[in-house]
């Protein structure tokens, strides 16, 4: 127990505590000055509320798409794919371990103006001139992060779908329940946890990401992660960056909480 606890305390609790304290400090002529002021937090919501709003909107969109697609595919694997289900599951696992930066990079070369998608569309005769509408916009970020998070969200949802017993499903159908009723009253409530885990993973990761917006997002995808990272480089304002980070985490926790309550309501057995 001890070594693990030591790693946890020294490399997680201590740095984050220091980072939290740092968020109340200020910077004076490129030096950190200890302080107890909320000025950084006020600045975050004063100057960066648009970036925050944009980030949370795009993260919510990504999390919603990921959850829907992941649920759909997990549903297919569990109920519809028959003998192909093992193959599908194997593909999910391959995609899961395909790597993070590699995937962002692949989307950069697929979506680029002289990239793979454009050249394929040209070659197939769908378009006459290459479109530059694919890369360097929020949609590219949505596609890339959806692709990255999809296998991660499928596994918990599939896990809860797999645990569902077949007998009550058949019983309900035999007793005259429609497919929809079986779905909403038996299947959906039982995969609440899996859906919530998938949604939360996708949302948290998307809201905190800075690599994807930087590589495929272009200049108008102003996600908060990029602003946070800049404070530790060019801007040299670590306290402000720390305040941004904790603001993001706080709002994320609220949103995840609200999402969990909404989901519980939506999936309640009527």
């Amino acid at each position: 127990m001890l070594p693990s606890a030591a790693v946890f305390l020294l490399v997680f609790v201590a740095p984050l505590s220091y980072f939290f304290i740092l968020s109340f400090w200020r910077v004076k002529s490129y030096k950190l000055v200890p302080d107890v002021s909320l000025a950084n937090y006020i600045r975050v919501f004063d100057q960066y509320h648009e970036a925050l709003l944009f980030t949370f909107s795009i993260a919510l969109i990504i999390a919603a798409i990921v959850t829907l697609l992941a649920f759909g595919l997990a549903f297919v694997v569990r109920f519809k794919a028959g003998r192909y289900s093992n193959l599908l599951l194997f593909g999910v696992l391959i995609a899961l371990f395909g790597g993070y930066l590699s995937k962002v990079y692949i989307w950069k070369i697929i979506l680029g103006q002289s990239g793979i998608l454009n050249s394929a569309l040209l070659g197939l005769g769908f378009i006459d001139t290459p479109l530059d509408a694919f890369l360097y916009n929020p949609a590219a970020v949505v596609i890339t992060l959806t692709h990255y998070m999809l296998p991660l969200a499928i596994l918990p949802i599939y896990g809860s779908l797999r645990a569902i017993d077949d007998v009550p499903l058949r019983g309900a159908r035999d007793l005259g329940a429609s497919r929809w009723r079986v779905f909403w009253d038996i299947i959906a409530p039982q995969c609440q946890t899996g859906i919530m885990v998938g949604f939360t993973l996708a949302f948290l990761f998307s809201a905190g990401d800075y690599v994807t917006p930087k590589l495929v997002g272009g200049p108008y995808t102003s996600m908060i992660g990029v602003f946070i990272q800049v404070q530790f480089g060019l801007r040299f304002d670590a306290p402000l960056g720390a305040a941004m980070a904790f603001s993001v985490i706080a709002v994320c926790l609220i949103i995840v909480g609200v999402a969990a309550l909404t989901l519980r309501r939506a999936l309640r057995v009527r």
Binding site: S4, F8, P15, S102, I106
Partner: protein, 258 residues
């Protein structure tokens, strides 16, 4: 009879699956394409981009750093993970689950926040940056996986064989090393490989804590700053093959199904 819902689900399954898998296949294909421009049509296949990368000493430096980090993280996180899991099974269920949730928090934290917190903290404490700090940073989010995997196995472990070893005169320590551990070998190897796969793939924590030098992911990042070049495909493909390879072996030894 093929009714419409069935058709819908088949189509949906196929399209989503293709969306998930085809980018990986595209990378594989274009790592061998002989054109400098990354676009269709592909005129021929070549291994030139591999040769070009293998000739660069920076690639091997990054490769070496990656291997040092991955092996250290694999070994250390497995050892401390087994220790933690063995201790956790002796706790009460409630205390064990609370500890487990705490230890899993680093996995849920946004990597950027953890990375920047580590960067600020290491510089303020004055320990400097470098490979040891990268390894420490990786341990905190790989050990939860080891602990969870090993804990799941130990809690289902047949204590009767340990008891018989003890009855036959083995000390608790001897019983642990000659009965418990060897019986969990597949689980332990699997857990180590999962930790290694996660460590190998990490970019953000590594990028902010390594100071100087590269690992494979940060090497790709560096190449990307100089524009898109087919050799990046090769490094990305090598990295992807390594992580998928490690994961597949892990799945095989632990006989994981879903």
């Amino acid at each position: 009879m093929r009714d419409i819902p069935t058709l819908f689900w088949r189509l949906f399954g196929a399209v989503t699956f293709l969306f998930m898998i085809s980018p990986l296949l595209i990378l594989l294909l274009f790592a061998f394409s002989d054109k400098k421009l990354l676009a269709f049509p592909i005129t021929g296949l070549t291994t030139d981009w591999f040769m070009k990368i293998f000739d660069r000493p920076e690639f091997w430096a990054a490769f070496e750093n990656s291997m040092i980090i991955v092996v250290s993280v694999g070994v250390v996180s497995t050892i401390i993970g087994i220790m933690a899991a063995s201790a956790l099974v002796r706790l009460r269920a409630r205390a064990a689950s609370v500890s487990m949730i705490l230890l899993t928090m680093p996995v849920m934290a946004p990597p950027l926040v953890l990375a920047l917190a580590l960067l600020s903290y290491f510089t303020s404490v004055g320990v400097g940056l470098g490979l040891p700090m990268v390894i420490l940073g990786h341990l905190v989010f790989t050990q939860p996986f080891v602990i969870l995997i090993v804990y799941a196995r130990i809690s289902k472990f047949d204590q009767a064989i340990v008891n018989s070893a003890r009855d036959l005169g083995a000390s608790p320590l001897k019983a642990y090393f000659t009965v418990t551990l060897p019986n969990m070998r597949p689980t332990i190897i699997g857990a180590a490989l999962v930790a290694m796969g996660i460590s190998l793939d990490d970019f953000i924590i590594t990028f902010f804590t390594i100071g100087g030098g590269n690992t494979l992911p940060t090497f790709i990042w560096g190449m990307l700053r100089k524009g898109v070049d087919p050799s990046i495909n090769v490094v990305a493909l090598i990295l992807m093959t390594l992580t998928i390879g490690v994961a597949l072996i892990a799945l095989r030894v632990t006989r994981y199904r879903g």
